[in-house]
Amino acid sequence: MAKHNTPLLDELESGPWPSFVSDIKQEADVRAKNEKGIDFQIPSEACDDLLGLLELSYKDGTTHWKHGGIVGVFGYGGGIIGRYSDKPVEFPACASFHTVRVSQPGAKYYTTEFLRQLMDLWQLRGSGLTNMHGSTGDIVLLGTTTPQLEEIFYTLTHDMDQDLGGSGSNLRTPADCIGQSRCEYACYDTQELCYFLTMMYQDELHRPAFPYKFKFKFDGCPNGCVASMARSDLSFIGTWKDQIGVDQAEVALYVDGTNPSNAGAHKGRDWGAFDIQAEVVDLCPTDCMKYENGELKINDKECTRCMHCINVMPKALKIGKQRGISMLAGAKAPIVDGAQMGSLIVPFLPIDQTMNKQLADFDSEEDWMEYLEEKYAAFVEVIEAVWDYWMEEGKNRERLGELMIRQGLQKLLEKIGMEPQAVHVDHPRTNPYIFWKEDEVPGGWNRDINEYRKHHAR
């Protein structure tokens, strides 16, 4: 029997989509029955009380959580979100209900072994509830008490070789798309770069030294499956500089209907026979393709690598071979100055296609990291220049994007040593309110009024 009556929540048990209410009840039940005989380190009724508290919110239409207090593990400035309820008497088992952010692995691949270990820990020391995953990417362990924090951290680091993720004015846990591990569109190894930078900047991730939060995300190509352009202060998006590879024989198989368009993504409706002119050539945003006499021609010079044609005909068209990354900066949610997408700051940084060694090729992770430092030196340089600038000029709680708006994109470009180029803008400025630097203007700015008046009477 459930501890609290939850008639409103119960209505969320029906319908086909997995019911979080059913799932929480399941965990409440497991805790109540405790068939495994766990010596729960936080109240066993945590899930029950959480449901009760949530039911109250469904009834009175407001949240019952208070501001997080400052809790955490020794020496870290992030990774834990403190949380207390404003109904501690009524729902004591979830009166304090902190979350632990656990740094997720690349592309969120897991072994069941790891997950089971983690869940055992969490049933022992927490509510048994999680978010798989938080929007930033972390494994979010939802609901524990302050005394458990160090214990959890200890077990994670000692027994599972696993660290916490980010929160606070830190680097947040970087996240990547599945990339080369299972995607033919990936222009670089998102897992490798994401992991390398995560390891490289462990200090920045755990100890707040920034004006505010900072996020990295890694998309293997412009399709943007980890939405880096929308959600990361620095986004790394794979692209290429040479030609799209065209296999005319496969093109023909699309044209004759053998290959399904867009790898079958549109199978749910009869859109009629595939029309390469209408579906590919005419939709190319740069109008740089031609289909003539059974041959598809691409004027790659004008192609902006939008991925459309490749997405439609993945068997026939292939990303280029001279690969690298476009870096965009400043994406963020709307608080406080309005939302931002990432703005292009580094159009293309090549990735050395000959540097393909994997961790397994090295004696130690340190050696491998050294190798990667060389491989990704150019990226590190940009990142650190961005940070230096932001830490110097950014106000408290000012995201990089807001600083960019306040001081201008050109300021950031200057600081990272990037020559301004037309590709940095959608279009040049429409207002002529140009700031010149004094040394760009012959004669400087300090002029003598008396000299001026010699030629211009008052």
Binding site: D10, W17, D23, V30, Q104, L115, G128, T157, G264, D337
Partner: protein, 382 residues
């Protein structure tokens, strides 16, 4: 309950302390077929909704079965996932960037067995535990946030609105009849942890009342200058207030007409709560995207200024979302994302066909840039 030590000694926190070790290395977590063929995939096909096959240079195949996840997952549920992965997938699995579960196997037969197994697992309430779908030109899982289950600033619940919406659009989770992918996101307050600012359809929790001022405590728990500085519209001023007991305290005053209820002050100062049953509710946005395919990424636009929190199933909200999706399905061209469709037909036509009211709230008036959203042409549709 007896305290069980992990080995940690509170008296000597630094002893044997391990820090800065980061996440586990991905290599340890790749399934075999992935490890072997990484970087060598040549193409893929979506066999049916939720089921993909990727083919490598050497002919290797990996079959992926994608299942919806509620994101709030219990340990028990995750243990069940592990059981499945052990049985069919050699003990590996992954989660997608939209919180779906992906089970991978390298043979078609395993995939078929897996599929059959997944389809029959249900919660007692009747919902699927592992609905298969979310690929191609359909609707995938909703990226979302904490809501009433864990956060202090939400104006609505996250998990509930998501469950209600996914139930409504479930057939499109298991189908691929839409013109293009349709991505839904949810965020329970303006902080937009769900990054709803660039989704095809976005559900946003929104307050509509300025903060209540807890003068008696404000100066004790908050730094007045930080609270003042936090306000994007400069609605907050320092002020002295006389309490009912005659005592005069330092506090703040809020110019209500300048407030747009962003809650940033509350983030800085717990003595300025905003939430209110009548004030809080839902804003619907639409037309955003993130991919660079054909068109550049776009922001979502506010299409419904407010819907009350109709717990537990938000029917007006889900109906409105349903209607928008139907009209999109009807009106858009193959490959056309939601926002590309609205831009093509014009937003006036969008409001028309979706039978939505256009109100003054939907006209941007936030700072200078607002101007760029107004109509600066004589071109419009009657």
């Amino acid at each position: 309950m007896a305290f069980i030590s992990s080995g940690y000694d509170p008296a000597k926190p630094m002893e044997g302390r391990i820090t800065d070790i980061g996440p586990k290395h991905y290599d340890q977590f790749y399934p075999e077929v992935i490890k072997k063929n990484k970087g060598k995939w040549t193409h893929h096909e979506i066999l049916e909704p939720g089921i993909l096959v990727h083919v490598a240079e050497n002919g290797d195949e990996v079959f992926t079965v994608r299942c919806g996840g509620a994101r709030i997952m219990s340990a028990t549920h995750i243990q069940e996932i592990c059981d499945i992965a052990d049985k069919y997938c050699g003990g590996n699995l992954r989660f997608t960037t939209r919180n779906n579960i992906e089970f991978m196997t390298d043979t078609k037969d395993q995939m078929l067995a897996l599929k059959a197994d997944l389809n029959q697992r249900k919660f007692p309430g009747g919902s699927y535990k592992f609905p298969i779908g979310g690929t191609g030109a359909g609707i995938s899982n909703i990226v979302h946030t904490q809501g009433w289950i864990h956060c202090h600033t939400p104006a609505t619940d996250a998990s509930g609105t998501v469950k209600a919406t996914m139930d409504t659009v479930f057939s499109d989770f298991q189908d691929m009849r839409l013109p293009a992918k349709l991505k839904i996101s949810m965020a329970c307050c303006l902080n937009m942890c769900g990054a709803v600012h660039c989704s095809d359809i976005a559900i946003l929790g929104y307050h509509r009342k300025p903060p209540i001022l807890d003068h008696e405590y404000l100066d004790k728990v908050c730094e007045v200058p930080l609270a003042v500085a936090s306000c994007p519209t400069a609605a907050i001023k320092p002020s002295k207030v006389e309490l009912p007991n005659g005592e005069t305290v330092k506090s703040v005053a809020v110019k209500n007409e300048r407030c747009m209820y962003c809650g940033n002050c509350y983030t800085m100062c717990p003595s300025m709560p905003l939430s209110d049953a009548e004030g809080d509710g839902i804003v619907l946005m639409a037309g955003g995207k993130v991919s660079n395919r054909i068109s550049a990424p776009k922001f979502s636009k506010v299409v419904v200024a407010f819907l009350p929190n109709e717990t537990p199933r938000w029917p007006t909200m889900t109906n409105t979302i349903g209607k928008m999706i139907e009209e999109y399905a009807k009106g858009a061209r193959k490959y056309e994302r939601f926002g590309d469709w609205t831009d093509r037909i014009g937003w006036e036509r969008f409001f028309d066909v979706c039978e939505l009211d256009f109100t003054h709230h939907l006209i941007d008036d936030f700072r200078d840039a607002a101007y760029q959203s107004w109509r600066q042409t004589t071109q419009f549709k009657f």
